[in-house]
């Protein structure tokens, strides 16, 4: 689904990604685990086509994304949930949902979105940012599902949410996976990561330092937590 080969990226003079190579197979949920500042968010931005200062190969569905602009990547089925959730304050909840172009067989019609997230229907005329943090996260996920994305790039969807809401996000991601959507997820919550993901890449100082499956993460949880500084 997604192949990244020797991807490097810079902010000005500072190099934030160093020859990252990783694969996200179709239908899997893969997490990027690492401390703040390890380069995880930049990696997602490179895949989305939002970071210009980069070198390396990003392949999607067998083709080179190269210099493809972000809006074409979105049209090709890549969906982004940014770390701040990216809810528009000047748009209502419903406008937030309907603003992006939707297409493809994966696209959720608005009725299905409202069925899955009744709270969004209830508040559809509210300005997007009047929702609570958890509701905004639901909205960000629902929005990208409505577009019919086949590859979701989720930047810390559980950050700052209560355990109950984290559980809800988990069940949404599992449901999304069952529909054949591939997910690349940034996650600091190791326990949560093992409940939704198939595989994990450990990122440190812009490099992939390890690739683990669920059982390895569980076995080495203490060591990994210490490594993450938690």
């Amino acid at each position: 689904m997604l192949q990244i080969r020797e991807l490097s990226a810079w902010y000005g003079e500072a190099q934030v990604l160093r020859e990252v190579t990783l694969d996200v197979p179709a239908g899997e949920v893969v997490t990027l685990v690492g401390r703040n500042g390890a380069g995880k968010t930049t990696l997602l931005r490179c895949v989305m086509g939002l970071h210009r200062h980069q070198r390396g190969y990003v392949g999607y569905l067998g083709g080179d994304l190269g210099g493809t602009p972000a809006h074409r990547r979105a049209a090709a089925g890549i969906g982004w949930v940014p770390d701040d959730r990216g809810i528009y304050a000047s748009l209502t909840v419903e406008e937030n949902l309907t603003m992006p172009r939707a297409g493809g067989e994966n696209a959720w019609p608005l009725s299905r979105v409202y069925e899955a997230f009744p709270v969004l229907k209830e508040r559809r005329r509210f300005p997007g940012t009047r929702l609570s943090g958890g509701e905004q996260q639901m909205l960000a996920l629902a929005r990208v599902l409505r577009t019919g994305a086949r590859l979701l790039l989720c930047d810390e969807p559980t950050e700052g949410l209560s355990p109950l809401l984290v559980g809800q996000i988990g069940s949404i991601l599992r449901a999304v996976k069952e529909h054949g959507v591939t997910v690349l997820l940034i996650e600091q919550n190791l326990h949560f990561a093992t409940t939704v993901a198939d595989r994990h890449y450990l990122i440190a100082e812009g490099r992939v330092v390890d690739s683990l499956d669920n059982s390895e993460v569980k076995r080495r949880e203490h060591e990994l937590l210490a490594y993450l500084g938690m």
Partner: protein, 290 residues
């Protein structure tokens, strides 16, 4: 009392110009991150367009009111395609310098042709008489300006809040990068939006011609106040710029009545206060843009 209400009216009329200019400036800023210095020059070209059409071709005010904004919108689109677009990927400061340069070039071209003395432009005959508003008589043309600009702001408001175009423009104004990631080709929307902003400035210019002195510097004089209005309303906030435009117009007019010495400075006092109290502007969002 009559005096007070009349001064409020004067304020609304001058606020109407501020609102029309601030609206275009704010939308362009939101989508491009560019403070468009040429905006004042578009306003000046609007007034001169009406003047030139009248003196050289005998085209009346009403035709000019329809044709000049359209011509400026086309001109704005061409400028965006030819120059501004090319610098879009760079630091916004480059485009800031570019639009400043464009403003100076346009001003000096007009100056070369027409000098710096103000040109008279007669109000259309139909409106060149006072209208009885009950408490006082008010110049018919000013009443028309107020109605026309309120209608223009309402039309823009409708376009922005009730249509698909408006949803996309609001999204792209608030967060251009995210909007690209959600599948919208923001770059392709910038040209018509820039043209639209130029057209609004042109409309304000034509409306101003019979009321204000038509001269090459009229835009440069006004644009500083408009910048302050946009900052007060919140950079990139569409509602903010309209509310702040009319608000500053009325506040300045009332100040003129009671504390005339302060009236020229008032807008900057407001701006300083807003920046201290709500740095993002009255209707702006708190987080800084990268």
């Amino acid at each position: 009392m009559a005096n007070f209400v009349q001064q409020c009216f004067n304020g609304l009329v001058s606020g109407a110009f501020l609102a029309l200019l601030a609206l275009g400036l704010s939308v362009i800023f939101g989508m491009l991150g560019v403070v468009n210095f040429a905006h004042g020059a578009f306003y000046m070209l609007g007034a001169f367009g009406a003047y030139v059409l009248l003196t050289n071709a005998g085209v009346n005010f009403w035709l000019a009111l329809a044709a000049v904004p359209v011509a400026l919108a086309v001109f704005g689109c061409l400028l965006e395609r030819a120059f501004i677009h090319r610098l879009a990927a760079l630091d916004p400061l480059y485009n800031f310098l570019l639009t400043f340069g464009i403003a100076l070039v346009l001003q000096d071209l007009v100056k070369r042709e027409y000098g710096v003395t103000s040109r008279p432009y007669p109000p259309p005959a139909e409106l060149n008489h006072p209208i009885d508003l009950g408490l006082f008589n008010y110049p018919g043309y000013q009443v028309f300006v107020l109605a026309a600009s309120a209608a223009a702001c309402a039309a823009v408001w409708y376009l922005l809040t009730r249509t698909r175009v408006g949803v996309v423009v609001r999204a792209a104004t608030e967060r251009p990068e995210l909007t690209r990631a959600l599948g919208i080709n923001v770059g392709a929307w910038v040209t018509p939006v820039f043209g639209f902003g130029a057209g609004l400035a042109g409309l304000a210019g034509v409306l101003a011609a019979p009321m204000r002195a038509v001269n090459p510097l009229m835009g440069a004089d006004l644009i500083i106040t408009v910048f302050a209005v946009v900052v007060i309303g919140g950079l990139g906030s569409i509602v903010g710029s309209v509310v702040a435009g009319f608000g500053i117009g009325v506040a300045t007019a009332l100040c003129n009545l009671y504390v005339p010495a302060l009236s020229q400075t008032l807008v900057f006092v407001f701006m300083a206060a807003v920046l201290l109290w709500r740095p993002a502007g009255l209707f702006g969002r708190e987080e800084a843009r990268v």
